[in-house]
């Protein structure tokens, strides 16, 4: 006998078992029932071992009833035991010199055993955090012969000028950046910008930090937000909640908050369900 399928079901779903038995009889297959194997974990589970049959459909039904009837913890044990039992039987079958077990068709993808990740820790996808591409480029307001606006690096101007560390507002400046809105607490320009290298930022202790690492800078003052961010309670995200299935993309601080005026902007709602009690229905107008 060559073991093809090992299936289990709950006695409450007896009809699936009967279906299986009728099928095995009608196809003259060998089968045996091992009753109450798991008396300790699930009082009425039956294991059905069927030989040489295409039992994809039957197995799925039985598996479904299994999930419905038992809890997730016991399922794990049962799945492990099922795999264990299956491997033993397969080894025994091949040892007896029978032909190899043929593979099933694609319908198996709905099987419960396969949909459960074997080792979630090792197959996890990353959490990708958006990052600024680097130091910003400043628009000079001029255009090159092709009509593209000319942008320059911060250091283009700032390396030739001595920083005035008393400047707090954009309007304090003699030229450039003068119309930039600045409402970020009591901060001055050099609270965050590095007066020694304007292509980078600086932390409160004076050490240099790159524009790409801006979250480190924000986190110095915004502790609760950083804590919440780390636990997914702050900042939007996209992708997968289940990292064993795919990656997740998370926003950077400056994706949602302008560094110079970080308060989240006011919005205008754009979408309203037109309730039939409140507004005429569009489809009637057509």
């Amino acid at each position: 006998m060559c073991v093809k399928k090992v299936a289990m079901c709950h006695f409450a779903h007896f009809k699936y078992l009967l279906t299986a038995l009728q099928f095995t009889r009608s196809h003259k297959l060998n089968f045996e029932i091992r009753g109450t194997l798991f008396a300790n974990v699930c009082s009425s589970t039956v294991t059905l071992i069927i030989a040489n049959g295409n039992f994809t459909n039957m197995r799925i039904q039985v598996m479904k009833s299994l999930i419905q009837s038992i809890g997730p913890n016991t399922l794990g044990i049962l799945v492990l035991f099922l795999l264990f039992l299956g491997s033993i039987l397969l080894v025994a079958a091949s040892f007896a010199g029978e032909t190899a077990v043929s593979q099933e068709n694609g319908e198996q993808s709905r099987s419960i055993v396969e949909s459960k990740p074997a080792s979630p820790a090792s197959t996890n996808y990353p959490i990708l955090i958006n990052r600024p591409s680097g130091p910003p480029r400043v628009d000079t307001g001029m255009e090159d012969p092709h009509g593209n606006s000319i942008t320059v690096a911060c250091s283009t101007c700032h390396t030739t000028r001595k920083p005035n560390i008393t400047n707090r507002k954009a309007s304090d400046l003699d030229e450039f950046h003068q119309k930039m809105p600045m409402s970020h607490g009591n901060l001055s320009c050099v609270s965050c910008h590095n007066p020694e290298d304007y292509d980078s930022l600086k932390l409160a202790d004076g050490s240099r930090v790159e524009f790409t690492q801006v979250m480190k800078l924000c986190a110095q003052c915004h502790g609760p937000q950083t804590r919440d961010y780390r636990h997914g309670a702050h900042g939007g995200m996209n992708g997968y909640w289940d990292l064993s299935k795919g990656p997740r993309t998370r926003n950077n601080c400056v994706d949602c908050h302008k560094p110079h005026a970080p308060q989240f902007p006011k919005m205008r709602p754009t979408f309203k369900p037109r309730d039939r009690f409140l507004n005429p229905v569009k489809s009637h107008e057509k």
Partner: protein, 320 residues
């Protein structure tokens, strides 16, 4: 004893219905009445088979409850629904049947300190879930509430001004996926039930549209399809689930299903991805490392209408 009739022509009929050949008496009259009633009852019983409405195919009429469908049945049903979508909407759709992930219990939390009532979640829901564009239906209602009150009945959904207003807060309400769902209890035909991962689903083809569940839901989370949904072909979302966002027939109930065609594949719900404020958090309540469990442990959390004992899997929290 039966007396045989002299008429030979009617003999065969009498063999079939011996009551015809009997002399009229009170007994035969009663027998006749009984036979007529029996025939009428049989006719009444099979009448629905004869009176299938023209726009309902025999397959659709005879379709079993979702839980009774075998995999072959499902394949047939899904193929039929895909063909109907092509015919009625001109869209090539794929209808799938995602099963609950074993061991996962979904939970959803909204940060009321962050939500500013912009309504992007409603828009995303409408697009993702193939809602009727005629009424811009959505599974979500964003309520504008007076600060200082938690009474959702006083919320206003029709505000049309810049948000957020200083004296208001904004509370999106959708299906709370209750562990003790009143909508499931009242359904007379078991067309709605709670799945193992906590999502309350509807078999739209089994639903009779009685709207008991709509009346029973304390969160006003269920919607009725008053009309056949109208969706332009290019706006139909082709990634559809049988229990989730396939185009619903007219006269059936529908509700938020946590985008199960996405979330059972491990993806985030559409309303979460659309939220520009990052107020929405989704995850597995059974995973102690998940974001949502951290929020439940560390934030000020409340559930809506807790006093009703519905045990929602949907939570609201504040930053401080």
């Amino acid at each position: 004893m039966d007396e045989p009739s002299e008429d030979t022509k009617s003999a065969s009929v009498e063999e079939l219905l011996p009551i015809l050949g009997q002399p009229s008496s009170r007994r035969t009259m009663l027998k006749g009445a009984g036979a007529a009633l029996g025939l009428a009852a049989f006719g009444g019983a099979v009448w629905p088979l004869i009176s299938i409405p023209e726009n309902v195919s025999v397959d659709e009429f005879l379709q079993q409850h979702y839980k009774e469908l075998s995999d072959q049945d499902k394949e047939k049903v899904f193929t039929r629904l895909e063909e109907e979508a092509k015919e009625d909407y001109g869209a090539d759709v794929t209808i799938s049947d995602q099963l609950p992930i074993p061991g996962v219990k979904f939970g959803y939390a909204i940060n009321l300190s962050k939500c500013n009532g912009n309504g992007k979640c409603m828009e995303a829901c409408s697009e993702e879930n193939n809602h009727h564009r005629g009424v811009d239906q959505s599974y979500i209602r964003v309520l504008e509430m007076q600060k200082g009150s938690m009474n959702m009945e006083h919320g206003n959904t029709t505000y049309d001004h810049t948000v957020p207003q200083d004296d208001k807060f904004y509370m999106p309400v959708q299906c709370q996926q209750c562990d003790n769902p009143p909508c499931v209890t009242v359904c007379p035909v078991e067309a709605t039930w709670k799945e193992d991962d906590g999502i309350v689903v509807v078999d739209y083809n089994w639903c009779i549209g009685c709207r008991y569940c709509e009346a029973a839901c304390p969160y006003h989370a269920r919607r009725f399809n008053w009309e056949q949904p109208e969706i332009p072909a290019e706006e139909v979302n082709p990634d559809q689930g049988y229990l989730s966002n396939r185009i619903r027939p007219q006269g059936t109930m529908e509700k938020c299903h946590f985008c199960l065609h996405r979330t059972r594949e491990g993806r985030m719900p559409a309303c979460l991805e659309a939220c520009p404020t990052g107020a929405r958090v989704f995850g597995d309540l059974n995973d102690p490392e998940s974001d949502i469990v951290w929020i439940l442990k560390n934030k000020r959390v409340f559930v809506l209408k807790e006093e009703l004992g519905t045990k929602p899997s949907f939570f609201y929290f504040f930053d401080s």
